[in-house]
């Protein structure tokens, strides 16, 4: 059925073209023989082919173009009076004798253009006559093409400023009048197309109309090309008249297209100066018109214009471009009740982009836009529409990108309120965008207020939001998010300790609401950030004296204690333990014995109560030993208690090798290689011997259990400890003891029950090489080693 129609159309088109060619042939012959009457007769017959109603606009255009080409030849003939011997005035009458209107008017336009060119009559009179006479064709497609022809043949003959046709009687105004009238009539015809012909599918009709829109738009283009239209005239005549037509035609397609045309064809400068008029038309358009695209285009153009030169900026201020755009958008949204939320937001995005580009210094404008957006969104449920949320993200991202500085965004009171309207997922994405922006620009957030504001923005990441099922979270995403938050915390910094403390308190307040899954990520950066402050305070302790509530390390440590405690409930005991130890070390540096002791206590308690996994225990005990070794704040008693505990736990580890290693590590607790560090050689030796015993026991156990003893690694390790303390001058560690151990190892290695292990062999061998080396080096150390036989 449909293909039949298409085939028929092709057939009709072919017939039409054949008709044109046939008559054009005779027309050419008449032209060659200078026979005016025949030429008119055949040209009229040729043009009669354009009277068809059967072709779609597309095909009709093809036919039209054929006729158009032929008419050019006719025009050349008309121009040459010597050929046809008829004055142009008579010719103008003569062509009007044609009985059919369409050929008559095509011919009239053709002669008319020659008439103007001859200047035998004022251009305006001829133009006016032509545009009036064309009213006779009321058929939309035929009328559109006819008027398009008129526009085509007249466009270089308008009485524009500086043109040949300008004269006393012919002014630019006449040119404008002519084009405007032709435009108006064409638009009417175009709009009317939709009511034409029964049984035509609406969609098809719309498509056909779209194909013709450029014919109408061309008029606006012609208008824009008229040099003589200055701002004044544009403002007083051209724009109001065009807009009047646009508004009155009440047609969605036309309104959208024409508004777009206006924006595209006329200069930015004019738009700026006529913003009010232009924008005033927007709310009057049909509610279904896609105004948002139109306005976006306008704002984009204006902002490009503003960007093009700094000189035009004062104009923007003078005409209050922002205020006008803003209120226009408000009105449009009000007028178009059915506009989806996404449309409104898109408008705001455009306005925001405009503001950012034109008035980058006016944060209040930005806030105003956001505020308007909030107003639109409020009272509505959270957005489900993915397009709308995308637009909101764009809206929120724009200021970040512009200012490269979240601090600026933080001053926008409406910013978080807009974010509230996002669904949780998007909210998080937005929060991530914010954090990434901070990271990218290494923005330092320097006051507690800003931190507070920032946390308000990214609260989607900080805590579980109401009604959001937690289990939907993607583990990896979650980690990413929380790592970002952790990184963010490091971006808070203020040189003033007071403020910094405030910042820390704020951060703490927020991250504490995060729940067990987040704390392990967020607490450590907070702790380290706080410890950094502590270290800074260390350096300037004197200064803070006398201030009423100084940010003392003590206070900070209290805070830290609470924070870590929260972590231990999570539970994340290993992490808490590490942090306790870090804090203890910091407290140590601050000479706060009780605080440090408290931290250790906490660490031990955690060790005892929470850390059950043997591997974790091993790690933990080594950490404890390591930290404790470096502590110098403790008095003898406290230190004893702690070292005793540590040694005790070491010996209670599950696996013998672990025990052994922990115990020999403990030896360092009694020997701090500092100037005034504790140097208790005896207890060092005790530890080492104990380690040796454990190693032996381990060996035996292995023999019993597996029939072969384990490798000698443990012994070699202990040997290294011996050598260390030997070199450090621990008198308890004698060369004979070392000698004995070496022999023990050697015999063990030779024993058949020992499983050979290349790595421990290599370890032993290199240890021996070291001894050899020290011996050969000579000097004091060489002498010391002298007695050891390798």
């Amino acid at each position: 059925m449909i293909s039949n129609i298409a085939e028929d159309e092709d057939k009709w088109l072919a017939e039409g073209i054949a008709g044109i060619q046939h008559n054009a042939f005779y027309m050419h012959r008449s032209l060659d023989s200078n026979n005016l009457r025949e030429a008119l007769k055949y040209s009229a017959q040729m043009l009669s082919e354009l009277r068809t109603s059967r072709l779609s606009p597309h095909k009709y255009y093809e036919l039209y173009m054929r006729a158009f080409d032929e008419l050019r030849k006719l025009e050349i003939f008309f121009k040459d009076e010597s050929k046809h011997g008829c004055s142009i005035i008579d010719l103008y009458e003569l062509v009007q004798h044609a009985g059919n209107i369409l050929p008559r008017l095509y011919l009239l336009c053709t002669v008319g253009s020659v008439y103007i060119k001859s200047k035998e009559a004022p251009a305006k009179d001829v133009l006016k006559d032509l545009v009036e006479m064309c009213r006779g064709v009321q058929h939309p497609i035929r009328g559109l093409f006819l008027r398009s022809y008129l526009s085509q043949v007249s466009r270089d003959k308008l009485p524009d400023i500086g043109s040949d046709y300008e004269g006393d009687a012919d002014t630019v105004m006449d040119a404008v009048e002519f084009v405007l009238q032709n435009f108006t009539e064409m638009n009417k015809l175009w709009v009317r197309m939709q009511h034409q012909g029964p049984g035509r599918a609406k969609e098809k009709q719309e498509k056909e109309r779209s194909e013709l829109r450029d014919l109408v738009g061309k008029n606006l283009h012609v208008l824009s090309q008229i040099e003589g239209i200055d701002l004044e005239m544009y403002k007083d005549t051209v724009l109001p008249r065009v807009l009047e037509q646009v508004v009155n035609c009440k047609d969605e397609l036309a309104q959208y297209y024409l508004m777009d045309c206006i924006i595209q064809v006329f200069p930015d400068e004019y738009h700026l100066q006529t913003l009010e008029t232009l924008l005033g038309a927007c709310p009057q358009l049909q509610p279904t018109v896609d105004i948002k695209t139109v306005l976006s285009q306008l704002m984009e153009r204006l902002s490009n214009y503003a960007a093009s030169s700094a000189e035009v900026l004062p104009d923007f201020l003078q005409v209050e471009a922002f205020a006008k755009l803003s209120s226009a958008i408000g009105k449009v949204i009000e007028a178009q009740v059915d506009m989806p939320v996404v449309g409104a937001i898109t408008l705001y995005v455009s306005l925001l982009t405009f503001t950012l580009r034109v008035h980058p210094d006016r944060l209040d404008y930005v806030d105003q836009v956001l505020g308007a957006c909030v107003k639109k969104l409020c009272g509505k449920p959270k957005l489900e529409d993915s397009k709308a949320t995308k637009q909101i993200v764009a809206l929120l991202s724009a200021p970040l990108e512009k200012y490269n500085d979240i601090v600026t965004a933080l001053t926008l009171s409406n910013y978080p309120r807009v974010m509230d309207h996002l669904d949780n997922g998007t909210n998080k994405i937005m929060a991530m965008v914010i954090i990434q922006s901070i990271m990218k620009n290494s923005t330092c957030i320097s006051t507690a207020d800003k931190v507070e504001a920032l946390f308000e923005l990214i609260k989607g990441l900080i805590k579980d939001l109401d009604g959001f099922p937690v289990d939907e979270l993607d583990e990896e995403d979650f980690k990413d998010e929380q790592n970002s938050v952790a990184r963010l915390i490091h971006m808070f910094y203020n040189d003033d300790p007071e403020e910094m403390l405030k910042i820390i308190c704020t951060v703490k307040k927020h991250i504490m609401t995060g729940g067990s899954r987040r704390l392990p990520f967020t607490v450590p950066p907070l702790i380290f950030s706080a410890l950094r402050l502590v270290r800074r305070l260390q350096g300037q302790e004197g200064d803070v004296v006398g201030e009423e509530e100084p940010a003392t390390p003590k206070k900070i440590f209290q805070l830290l204690n609470q924070t870590i405690e929260a972590l231990s409930f999570v539970p994340s005991p290993e992490l808490a333990l590490r942090l306790y130890l870090q804090c203890a070390e910091a407290a140590n540096d601050c000479d706060l014995e009780p605080v440090a002791y408290e931290f250790f206590t906490q660490a031990f308690i955690l060790y005892e109560e929470e850390i059950a996994d043997s591997k974790a225990q091993v790690t933990a005990i080594h950490l404890i030993i390591g930290t404790l070794q470096r502590m110098n704040v403790f008095g003898v008693e406290n230190r004893d208690t702690l070292t005793h505990k540590a040694t005790g736990y070491s010996a209670k580890l599950l696996k013998k090798p672990d025990q052994c290693r922990a115990v020999y590590a403990c030896s360092h607790l009694f020997w701090v290689d500092d100037q005034d560090g504790i140097k208790d050689g005896e207890r060092v030796m005790l530890c080492l011997k104990r380690a040796l015993r454990i190693a032996n026991a381990a060996q035996q156990m292995a023999t019993v259990a597996r029939g072969s003893s384990g490798p000698v690694t443990l012994f070699v390790e202990i040997l290294n400890k011996y050598i260390y303390f030997f070199e450090k001058g621990n008198s308890q560690v004698t060369s004979s003891a070392i000698q004995g151990l070496i022999e023990l190892i050697t015999s063990e290695m030779q024993s058949e029950s020992t499983t050979p292990d290349p790595s421990s062999d290599a370890f032993f061998a290199s240890t021996m090489r070291y001894i050899q080396f020290q011996k050969q080096k000579g000097g004091a150390m060489g002498e010391k080693y002298d007695s050891i036989k390798a």
């Binding site: 009007q96 004798h97 009985g99 009213r135 006779g136 064709v137 009321q138 009328g143």
Partner: protein
């Protein structure tokens, strides 16, 4: 054969020439046999003068009972062909009975001849002017020669010439208002006007303006009316909407119009009408006919 034809040929040649024949304007007329010939043009109250020359054929003499010339204005109805009604008849005697041996010339003159009616060639009626020269003979019938001429009468532009303006329509269907700038047009005039659509509920396909000539002949029960459409001029293509105003500009010169003739000698009338026709998509025609008066304006050139 030649002899035979020669026997029936008139024994002399008669030629009629007008005094100002060289300078006088000639116009074409269609003769009964379909040929077009050029004849001189006169108007009422002109002097019609000239010469008649009679030339007997070689070696023959023409014996006659007198020679006369008549100026006749005749109306011929086609249903009554060959029967002329003379509304004007003027006679001049040119010669007393006698014999003509050689070429003889007679001047003649009809001064300020009253010729109120124009020459007209219609569908059913013809009005003509003719000069008729008769050589009366007792035997073999008279020798007669005719010379047609055309009369056109000019009218100055009327003092009152109102426009034709009218609102017509079909209730709830179509309402238009049309205006023609005048009610009286001369033959080379232009009809200017417009049609304004007040209400359009039908799908109009196009609109034409027709010029129609109504020729009525006879009188009373015998009246015979013939209507011809002389012009069909498309004014509008496509369907207008309410509020549209369509211009009219129709040049009359291309059409073969005559002045309006009203009740010529109680024999016939010729009237002109403008017929505005709207055709809808189902090819239904809606029309309104208005009479216009056509007159002949004195030619300036």
């Amino acid at each position: 054969m030649n002899y035979l034809i020669g026997a029936f040929k008139p024994s002399c040649n008669i030629s009629i020439t007008f005094a100002d024949g060289k300078s006088r304007k000639q116009v074409p007329i269609k003769k009964e046999n379909g040929q077009t010939v050029m004849v001189p043009l006169f108007q009422s109250q002109e002097n019609i003068s000239g010469k008649i020359s009679i030339e007997p054929l070689q070696g023959k003499k023409v014996e006659h009972n007198g020679v006369k010339i008549e100026l006749l204005g005749q109306i011929e109805m086609y249903f009554d062909r060959g029967n002329f009604y003379d509304f004007t008849s003027l006679v001049r005697e040119l010669d007393v009975p006698g014999e003509i041996y050689e070429r003889k010339t007679f001047p003649f003159e009809f001064s300020t001849v009253e010729m109120p009616y124009e020459t007209y060639n219609g569908v059913n009626v013809r009005l003509r002017y003719v000069l008729k020269v008769t050589i009366s003979r007792g035997y073999g019938g008279s020798i007669v020669e005719y010379q047609d001429f055309v009369v056109r009468n000019y009218t100055p532009p009327p003092e009152i010439n109102n426009s034709i303006k009218m609102e017509v329509g079909i209730e709830d269907c179509l309402h238009i208002e049309f205006e023609y700038n005048k009610s009286k047009y001369h033959l080379k005039d232009v009809i200017i006007g417009k049609i304004y659509f007040l209400l359009v509920r039908i799908k109009i396909k196009n609109m034409d303006l027709e010029i129609r000539r109504r020729e009525s002949t006879g009188s009373g029960a015998n009246t015979h009316v013939e209507t011809e459409t002389l012009a069909k001029f498309e004014l509008m293509d496509g369907a207008p909407v309410r509020g549209e105003s369509i211009p009219i500009r129709l040049f009359l010169s291309p059409y073969e119009l005559t002045p309006t003739h009203r009740n010529i000698n109680n024999k016939f009338s010729v009237k002109y009408y403008l017929n505005l026709v709207l055709v809808d998509e189902e090819d239904r025609r809606y029309f309104k006919q208005q009479e216009i008066t056509v007159y002949r304006l004195p030619e300036t050139s």
